[in-house]
Amino acid sequence: MSRLAAPFLLLALAASACSFDPEVTGVWRTEDGATVSWPVLEFQGRVELVLGQYGEAVAGMLRLYEPEMEFKEIYLFPACPCLFLDQATFDNGTLVFDVIPCGAEATEWSGRFEWSEGDGGEILVGTLEPKVPAAGMEPTLQFKLRFSGGKKLIKEDELNQECPGPTL
């Protein structure tokens, strides 16, 4: 973005503040003490969604951390640290996306999360489930993510670490 836009962007943002449409741009994390179990990855730990919203379209990734308290790079789950989101949208308070977890038999999973706002701030509550359920696989992962910070927390130099993602 051109630097010249900065002072006028403030005006535009101030004007846009008059009508509030929820946005998901930023970093969303599982709460302290909460863990997510993802048997297919043999993962149990904390989850982070890093998102950028552009109209209804959303881009970003899902990052997995070992159960230590800090969301730091050193705690990224080695077997599958992050997953690109695909076909992600946010519309009418609902975030939907596809991910392909790591592994030879990786299959596509779909995420569906509802945005809401409470006393503690904004939260996304939803599920991850395989598009094609397989026998013996936990069909649905349920977890809650809390908004942890805006674009400032999206550290571009930390992104894209060991992110296999779908092969194009």
């Binding site: 010249l4 006028f8 881009a59």
Partner: protein, 480 residues
Amino acid sequence: MRLVAAVLLLILALPSGPALGSEADLRKVKRVAVLPLRNFAGQTEGLFLPDQEDPLEARAAGLLADLGARLGAEGLVVIYQDGALRKRVASGEEYEEQVALGRERLSLGREHFLALRQKEAVHSLSRAVEVMERVFHQVVAPEEAAEALELWGVALVESGLLGRAHVAFRRMFHTHPGRRFTAGYHPKPVEKALEDAYRDLTTSVERAIPFVLAETTSTFMKRNKLHALIHPVLVRRGEDVYLELYAFEAPHGYMQWRDAALLDGSDADVERVDRMGSRWLACTPFSTRKVEMDRPRTTQLAAHFAHEVFFQVPTREFQHEMGVSIDWFQRLTPVMDLVVRLDALTVLPDRFRDVQPGYSTIRATIGPLFAWTSRRWSIYGGVGLAVQYIGRFEKTSSPDCKFWAKGSPAYEVRCPASDRTMFPPDLLIGANAVFGTRFYPTPGFFLSLSTSMAMFVYPFDRSIEMNFPLTSLIGAGTRF
């Protein structure tokens, strides 16, 4: 950024209109009093003859009244004479109260005099004169003021105070030179004192002074809010009678001008007196105040905040831009100006962020404007040539191309070249139509509001992706 800073400095440096306009000195109207005519042309021998109307005195009074009316009609002075002057003096602070007190003292003094209590009479009568003269009652009712002075002088003679009596009688004749007496009414010493005082006054320069002391003249003008005073007197020079005018200026009360005109009863008197009045008007000083010259101001310079929206765009939403604009209007004819305008804007991100990164644009327009202009408003419209430069930008609808940092491995994986379109820098040329209005709270400063629409036709190869920008401007400027 440098361009924006330069334009902002220009806004701050806009000169104020009045500093560049020219001014003229406009005369302030003077308030001038013309005192009642005093006739010092009489002979001492006539003091005890029956009162006869002096035809020259009546003629001089009439000429003075006409002169006052003519001078007032010129618009440079406001003349107070005769009834208007009496009314102005009598409306002063404490006037009625002091005159009532003076009359009371006069009555008491008369009582004492008739009862041969000369010492008490002198005291009461001097007090009566003092009180009346304090509010310049002698200008409103000279006969009554002279009566007090006469009685005072007589009491002083009867008291053996001849020196003071001489002064009292001089003041009486100075106030009312036409005062006459019945022969034998007063004792011989009083009659002699009257003759001596009259002879002394009519041959002295004191007749040229309205209130004896310059300080008193100054007080009179200050009390009645006057800028000048004219003291007219009739005097005899050998066989001829002259109307003399003496002019005094506030605030000091000193004589500033004097002149004389022969009165011989002929028609030439009118012209002589009229010329004398014109000479006074030419010589009397006027205070001035600055006024702005109402001259045409042909150049206008303004700075604005600008908002622009392109209606033809390669993106999903209209592109809004904001920036600054400066323009220069030069009056060519009473209804036509030549305008040159320069706009510098930068694009604002829309909700899709399809433009990556944002671009800047500069437009120059030139053309004639046709304006209707009044004292406070100007409404104008016109068409001209527009040349616009749009900087390089990339367009994409892929969220991954917007999210991932350019050049990062994820960007390379998630944002293929097919998801992006590069738009190189572009130069567009076309026509621009503008409509606006300006409000001038002062002749040199204005507030401005305008809107314009451009239509680009060059390049001619139909490769124009962005067209039909609508620009709105609000700002201020100076006219000189």
